[in-house]
């Protein structure tokens, strides 16, 4: 499994692969000259591999097809539960307003309680699944009380337009796209679950190339700050890549958390909480000890 081209190259020619899902930071990073220059100075060059789901990104990372990746928290827990040797190297703060529950534009659903018996779409095994469960739980409901419809976001938005579902639990940019089409947000993940973005590597790459990781994390931090300062530096690129309007992206970037950092103290706590929740929900079979997978910021540089 480890004999993939990119990794063998990384030993000889110091080429490695970054797997990414499209968002402001990763797209900016791909175009960033300083990042590439810094790497080159260390003798590295980068290959980019695009993915459209967190699980496929982490699948590739776990099998050492890529060396660095970004994804959400929930898929990473499944990856760990299934023995993928991945490590958390950086994260953002939780961005509670970047995901939530949308309802049809002219519906009489006003709060979570009204969802009883309604058709709710979300992506199975995703953060939205988790959010749905936790949100319902807060109102004393569970999936038995609603009619879940398992849909990937691109399919769900069409189902929403056709009126085949009443509510849709999803994250940005789909949340914003839904709002743009006149659907209403009745609840977000605020006070319900943490919603972080993470940056990952795998065990082998962490051992062999911590210096490259440091360059990477530093660049992610720097670009995050730049975008936070002025989202309009990213919106044209995002528009070009996704076809969503620049205004929509402005809204997304404004309410999102763009600034990442080396893992701080809250990270392990949140992840452990989520892992325990998943165990309780029966989504994973064995308890996870999250601290062994989290690389604290200093550790990364100390390894050198």
């Amino acid at each position: 499994a480890c004999s993939h081209e990119a990794t063998t190259h990384s030993q000889e020619m110091n080429e490695f692969t970054i797997g990414y899902q499209k968002n402001a930071i990763t797209l900016m990073l791909r175009e960033d000259e300083q990042f590439h220059a810094d790497l080159e100075a260390l003798g590295y060059s980068v290959d980019w591999a695009e993915f459209n789901t967190g699980s496929s990104t982490l699948e590739a990372l776990g099998t050492e097809s890529v060396d660095i990746a970004n994804a959400g928290d929930i898929p990473s827990l499944y990856a760990i539960a299934n023995n993928h040797p991945i490590r958390y190297i950086a994260s953002t703060e939780s961005a509670p307003h970047s995901q939530g529950i949308l309802v049809q534009r002219d519906t009489d659903i006003e709060d979570i309680g009204d969802l009883e018996g309604k058709r709710i779409a979300f992506n199975r095994a995703s953060i939205a699944h988790y959010l749905t469960l936790k949100t319902l739980e807060k109102e004393g409901l569970d999936l038995e009380n609603v009619r879940p419809v398992y849909l990937d976001p691109p399919d769900a938005i069409l189902a929403m337009e056709r009126g085949e579902i009443d509510a849709w639990v999803v994250w940005d940019p789909y949340l914003a796209a839904g709002e743009e089409r006149g659907h209403e947000v009745i609840s977000t993940s605020e006070d319900v679950v943490a919603y972080r973005s993470f940056y990952f590597t795998n065990e082998a790459f962490l051992t062999d190339h911590p210096e490259a990781l440091e360059v990477y994390v530093d660049a992610v931090i720097r670009i995050g700050e730049e975008v936070e300062d002025d989202p309009s530096i990213a919106t044209p690129l995002l528009f070009e890549e996704t076809g969503l309007s620049e205004e929509t992206w402005h809204r997304i970037l404004d309410r999102g958390i763009n600034i990442a950092d080396y893992n701080g103290p809250g990270v392990e706590e949140d992840l452990q909480q989520q892992a325990d929740d998943l165990l309780e929900l029966g989504f994973i079979d064995d308890p996870l000890e999250m601290d062994s997978y989290i690389v604290e910021g200093k550790e990364l540089s100390n390894d050198e």
């Binding site: 699980s55 699948e59 299934n82």
Partner: protein
């Protein structure tokens, strides 16, 4: 021939027809178990683990529910799609002008991946059963169409001429001449379609499904349960083998006039 020779011969026959085909699968199974056990193959569940999972799913009855649901979708889609493909193949095979007007269009549709069509299918048919069955229908239609068309077009011209000159009715021309003549090729199409059926079903079962083998397998992928993924793969291959065996039986029945199948029977 002595009795012993006969029973030897019988044993040999049993070996050839019932054991030989399974030698390779069993070898693969052993290689798989060994390479997982020795760590040569990582991240893959071993046959033993998969077996355990299979037992769990079987005991809980979950596996039968998935198979049942998928089977229903597959069967309905197969009947509609196979039927359409057959009818179109017959029309275009028998009529040049029908071919002229529709073959190009069909060839263009044929090439559109199911996956690319999903957004349009959802817009038109929603996310319910209709959409799923539509996708299977679309997938199954084309192999049956192509092979029916080809089969009909390659019926011996001499026999067609004979049938026309003997003033046989259109109906008999079709049932007694063209259809049996095209049958070997049509059955190849059916055999292929039986495979395609499952292949498109997995795509269909990514849309708002809550059961079915495709759902089981895609869900397992989301949860990264490699043992379940492999279980689903094995299920597909077993179902494939069953479908194939049925198709072969059908061939033997329908083509009993054909020297190829007679000889296979004798040997």
């Amino acid at each position: 021939m002595t009795n012993k020779a006969i029973s030897n011969h019988g044993l040999k026959h049993v070996y050839k027809s019932s054991i030989a085909p399974w030698v390779l699968p069993i070898v693969l199974l052993v290689v798989w178990q060994v390479s997982v056990s020795t760590g040569a193959m990582q991240l893959i569940a071993s046959p033993y683990e998969v077996l355990t999972t299979a037992i769990t799913y079987t005991v809980s009855g979950e596996i039968f529910e998935h198979i049942g649901v998928s089977f229903f979708r597959a069967a309905v889609g197969f009947l509609i799609g196979g039927g359409l493909g057959f009818i179109l193949g017959v029309l275009n095979g028998m009529s040049n002008s029908s071919e002229r007007y529709t073959d190009t269009t069909i060839q263009m549709f044929r090439n559109i991946p199911i996956l690319a069509m999903i957004p349009l299918v959802i817009i038109w048919f929603g996310v319910g059963e209709t959409a799923k069955i539509f996708l299977v229908t679309a997938g199954v239609m084309f192999p049956v169409y192509i092979n029916t068309f080809h089969g009909i077009r390659s019926v011996d011209r001499g026999l067609l001429e004979m049938s026309r000159i003997y003033g046989i009715s259109k109906w008999h021309l079709f049932t007694k001449v063209i259809l049996p003549g095209a049958m070997p090729s049509i059955l190849v199409g059916v055999r292929y379609a039986l495979g395609v059926m499952w292949v498109t079903l997995i795509v269909a079962e990514t849309i708002a499904a809550t059961s079915g083998i495709g759902y089981m397998s895609m869900n397992a992928r989301e949860f990264m349960q490699i043992d379940v993924i492999i279980l689903a793969i094995l299920l597909y291959s077993v179902l494939g083998k069953i479908a194939d065996t049925l198709a072969k039986l059908l061939e033997k029945r329908l083509l009993n006039w054909h020297p190829t199948y007679q000889n296979l029977r004798n040997s």
